[in-house]
Amino acid sequence: MLVTEQQRLKDDIGRWVQRYGAQRSALIPVLQEIQAKYSQVSEYAMQEAADHLGIHPVEVYSVVTFYAFLAEAYQGKFVIRLCRTISCDMAGKTRVARQLENDLGITFGQTTKDGKFTLEWANCIGMCDQGPALLVNDHVFTSVTSEKVHDILELCRKSFGPLAVHDNRHEEARQ
């Protein structure tokens, strides 16, 4: 990692710790911010967060590895999570999954080489009446068909499209 990048991460973590408070209960919100901005919680970030909160980095590591939405390894700009629970399964998630793999050239659990897409399974995302359903970052798509997969991916590929940014309206409102 470049020194300037390290510095940027360090500054960001310092700012987030200040916002959420330098206490253990701030750990997960801080890690969520790191994940959203940097698409991963690297070892360096874990060490930095640990130092700020006065805990051992292993404590941070144990939390990062516990939660499905926090990742040690780099995740793509667009994390696609397809629901695999029974209602979406019965609605035809298998074909959607196959088409996602075909169009992206990766299997579930992998990230595309250009760093744009990560494909993951999700457990029930609460769209059971409108399956198959998937999440692209924070956005939800319902009644997805194998045909619609292409459109969703194209929407992502338009780099300044509506899905490219994290929804941070609530943060702006707070500041």
């Binding site: 253990r24 209960s25 997960i28 209602s87 019965m90 929804d167």
Partner: protein, 396 residues
Amino acid sequence: MNANRKGLVTFSTIDPDAALRAAVAKTRTEMIAEVTASKLKGRGGAGFPTGVKWNLAAAAKGDAKYVICNADEGEPGTFKDRVILSEVPDLVFAGMTIGGIAIGSAKGIVYLRGEYAYLRAQLEEALARRRAAGLLGPQILSKSVGFDIEIRMGSGAYVCGEETALIESLEGQRGEPRNRPPFPVDTGLGGQPTIVNNVETFACVAAIFAKGAAWFASIGTEKSTGPKLFSVSGDCANPGVYEFPMGITVAELLREVGGEDAKAVQIGGASGRCVPASEFARTISYEDISTGGSVMVFGPQRDMLAVAKNFMEFFVEESCGQCTPCREGNAKLLEGIEMLEEGRCSARYLDELLTLGEVMQNASKCGLGQSSPNAFLSIVSHFQDELMGRTHGPAR
């Protein structure tokens, strides 16, 4: 969010502000008495009497007290809380505020699951509106009581729907359930008295204060009062969220949603039970089939072993790994299901698996492991014929 709703009692006619006004006109003791009189039980699925919980938290001593709204709706097949939060968030916030005043707490937290991040902005807007209207903040409705609500996000862990795991998560820990007792009502968030209630429970509280405990208790059955929201999915004509009085039979519910030809219904999600057609006359209530509201309909063509396998894969992934019966047991049951699928499971080994399931129900530390074998056990007991001696590998 195109919910398919019929017979809505909770949603359509309740004014959340009127509920809050009616609540602050009472003393704290009277408020809790009102909840107790309504005989409201927890809508998350466990069915603990809300009035009893609040009374314990109100009586507990602590430097601070907390009100937590459990919006970590992760049970497969459940989406009613998503609909409540997107359509009537004020009902939930009013219910939380009433809870805060009743137990003497100044701080509420909504623990929203990470998968519902897209709801956050509109919830923050609703909170800001309530602050501006004096319904939240240091002086609620110009009285000397204060209460405010913060939203915290989950990070994709089903087990955090368990109340003590949820509290661990809020404290910045892995979401591993604690031993109970002590219960959160005396030793909760930060070791302080805390009430953790489901989204729908808080919405019901607002309804109770707007329309009276007697009105609420007049709906449903003697032991299961009030209306209940059901999240209906699977093989039926009109999936969606429905509101029915407690005590509705499975058959009546199926008629309403257009799923009369079902061969089985999974009630209560992955941790619930599979009800075969022969038992459709049973009622959905705390005294018969208890549920947080998940109803998954399986049509005549469905392979029940595939259903059991899907649920078991879910639990293998979502077990927090802390206690042995759950961590090892779920993996072992999944292995057994795969043997059944391949047609190489002896009747004796199946018996062993059933015994293992019972051990897990008895010996697991939290509700996840205690209920994870339910689906498998009930599918085996009702559809054994369909499961044994398969010759073609996985049926599709």
